[in-house]
Amino acid sequence: MINLKINGLNVSVEKGTTLLEASRFLGFPIPTLCHVDGLSPYGACRVCTVEIMENSKSRLVTSCTYPATEGLQVRTASSRVISARKMILELLLASCPQSKKIQDLASAYGVRRQRFRQEYEDCILCGLCVRMCEEQMMAKAIGFRGRGEGRSIGTPYDRKSEVCRTCGGCMYVCPACQLRCTFNQAENPICGACENLSPPCLEKDNYDDMMCSMSPCLACEIKQYEPLKGEK
């Protein structure tokens, strides 16, 4: 067993447990995009960032890939972590403004502005679909192609794969596939939490033909996170 401290609480975990699992075990929420139980950790999206203390220096690591080590001190919601997460979410939002999952997370973390040019990509290269296809479906129909800017996900030669059984697992896990609610400003990726309605949610019916991401209602969550900043 390995003993470590998460947000000041002592916890013993088995060898090989990741910080994410240990924190979740204690009930500390850590957001994830590229982590799904049952698939190998990959560490692509970085939103699960936490702060660890190592040789009296603190450092940000991705909790989904970082194994618990003896005596490690972890903070899952320090101001440094929150601001790093906000920045990551803002960047993710810029690359995939249409994703409901990213928008939900961004609004939950109080991302209130978008300073980067929107790219309208439809993939954040989290690799979930690739791992799903390989590890759970045993198919290996899709994979990463190219490198750097030109990196993409797909089948060889962009042709229908012979090994694909059209199971749809890749779409199921994809954090970018589900489209977000666009409210009445399709261009703005920031969740308005329906314009921070006051009183909240009452006018929601006005938009009932649109897909709203406020389930569970995010407007409340925004309020929850606001005091976090002052908390320090």
Binding site: K140, A141, G143, R145, R147, T155, P156, S161
Partner: protein, 377 residues
């Protein structure tokens, strides 16, 4: 096996071969006779009777070339070694068949790191990674196609499309970028009429951009064929293309039996004048010292007989007569004969394996003679 070696169709050879059909029973026996220099067929060898020295005669054109004979001594009989790894052989690359893939897999094994080695070998044999070959590798090894495709697209070295005989890489790294590399790419694009990553219609040149070649101080850098060009400006683009296309000519004459490489020694001190460190026409150059007036400099000749390519360190006026000497013993190379083209004096050099080659000492004159009747072994 035999089809791997190309024998140039030669009208004369037909007769000599026919005459001697009775003497030689099987091709295997031919091979056993050894190479001509110590061939036991002295009486009937038509080359000997011509008073010509040969290292390897036509009779053996279909036999595998003994490794004994260095490439540089292959005579102009149209005999070519099978294009080996890395050699830009001919225009026609062999199609890779299942057997070839098997052989490659056998050679590279399937231990760690085999995949890249296999792809590398396929690429050097075919010039690119044909889909068919990738599928065969995937089938034979059980490695999923996505993995192969992922690797093939990840590394810049691999190409899924056939490539030109030459690659022009224009650096787009930061240092080169600020010095105007983007304008260079535009110029190359305009002159070649292709986009980066594409190959010209004649299959000669592939245009590419790269991200830093490690020579930032000399930027913008362009690599054309095997050469680096530094501080390139748009105005030099035409020149670079010409040089690269010229190299293309070199590659073409490589298969031409009228051009063949020789190795030479200083006739005075017998030291080899070959400089493998600097290739001209793809072969080690011949290094000599040239004096013109007060100026002495190293010059290098192409060792391809018939090519006539020369590289100077400093300009020498065209038509000026130079004095050539050996860079080792400093002895002046003087001969009695005069150039068949311009009548100037010629410098003699000994050909490795026997013979004498003479080159004209006048700048710009490509006159040279080869006499293989002398000093035969």
């Amino acid at each position: 096996m035999g089809s791997e070696y190309t024998a140039a169709p030669d009208a004369e050879s037909g007769t000599s071969r026919g005459d001697r059909a009775d003497d030689l029973t099987t091709p295997e026996e031919d091979i056993r006779l050894g190479i001509c220099s110590n061939c036991s067929n002295l009486e009937t060898c038509s080359y000997r009777t011509l008073g010509q020295a040969v290292w390897y005669c036509e009779e053996y054109s279909l036999a595998p070339l003994p490794a004994l004979i260095p490439d540089t001594l292959l005579p102009p009989f149209g005999i070519k070694r099978f294009p080996g790894k890395g050699e830009a052989a001919g225009r026609k690359r062999p199609e890779l068949e299942a057997d070839d893939i098997d052989a490659i897999l056998q050679r590279q094994g399937t231990g760690t790191g085999w995949l890249i080695a296999v792809l590398e070998e396929i690429q050097s044999a075919a010039g690119y990674l044909p889909e068919k070959a990738l599928r065969m590798v995937s089938e034979k090894t059980g490695r999923p196609m996505v993995d192969l495709y992922g690797i093939a697209t990840f590394y810049r070295y691999f190409s899924l499309k056939p490539r030109g005989r030459h690659t022009i890489s224009v650096c787009q790294g930061t240092a080169c970028h600020v010095r105007g590399a983007p304008a260079l790419v535009d110029e190359f694009k305009r002159q070649l009429n292709v986009k980066p990553g594409e190959t010209t219609a004649d299959g000669a040149i592939t245009l590419e951009t790269v991200n830093c070649l490690g020579a930032c101080a000399l930027g913008p850098i362009v690599v054309g064929g095997d050469r680096y060009f530094s501080r390139v400006e748009a105005i030099k683009v035409r020149d670079i293309l010409k040089k690269v296309r010229n190299e293309s000519r070199t590659k073409d004459i490589e298969g031409d039996p009228r051009f063949f490489p020789i190795a030479v020694r200083c006739p005075l001190c017998s030291r080899s004048l070959m400089d493998p460190g600097l290739l001209i026409d793809g072969h080690p150059s011949v290094r000599l010292t040239a004096a013109y007036g007060e100026d002495r400099q190293t010059i290098r000749f192409s060792s391809l007989y018939g090519s006539g390519a020369v590289e100077y360190e400093r300009e020498i006026p065209v038509d000026a007569e130079t004095v050539l000497s050996c860079p080792y013993c400093a002895g002046t190379l003087e001969g009695e004969s005069s150039c068949p083209e311009c009548g100037n004096s010629m410098a003699p050099l000994h050909v490795e394996g026997g013979g004498l080659v003479q080159i004209c000492t006048r700048r710009g004159c490509k006159g040279h003679t080869l006499d293989l009747t002398l000093d035969y072994f």
